[in-house]
Symmetry: C2
Subunit: 103 residues, 2 copies
């Protein structure tokens, strides 16, 4: 499993409607790809925001990075929309869980 953590800030003069539309479009697209697991936005109590996108493998993530529509969106993001971003690609090296037996 691969978890991508994404933190972004948009430019002050960004076209909000265009930004939201592109975001929605990409969110709908990524969900159709093989190996996509989940995508969700999180916020901390002090206003730190992070998007968490999970794929089954690094190969599935690569297919997403290289998807033609996504490549165009990435370019628009960088040239028109984002003031900054930080992306961390994380591989799950170990996972464990615990649950009380239900009564």
């Amino acid at each position: 499993m691969v978890i991508v953590l994404i933190r972004t800030t948009v430019r002050a003069d960004v076209d909000r409607a265009a930004y939201e539309a592109l975001n929605t479009q990409m969110y709908e697209l990524v969900q159709t790809l093989p190996g996509f697991v989940s995508a969700k936005d999180f916020t901390s109590s002090d206003g730190d925001a992070v998007s968490m996108v999970t794929f089954e493998s690094l190969e599935a993530l690569r297919a997403w990075r290289e998807h033609p529509d996504h490549v165009i969106a990435q370019h628009r993001g960088k040239t028109e929309m984002y003031a900054s971003y930080r992306v961390e690609v994380c591989e799950v090296v170990r996972a464990y869980d615990f649950a009380l037996p239900s009564v």
Copy 2:
């Protein structure tokens, strides 16, 4: 860098004050360890909660897992406090960022 994602639910009958006190104590302890980077709690708009704890390395994480006070706390968590938990240990395999040059 190693990011640990932790999702927990506590038992309905948990002693809230004891649980919060133990949590605070562990949070204060982990920050004193070499290789600790950050710890923060996040929530999604649909109420999904995740704690994100970052260490410099798997070795730093191991030192935390094996810290005597933490071992005791883990045991209390499992026997007295948690209804369930899920822990994912993630290694950052790639990171990149972008920032507009400041004017």
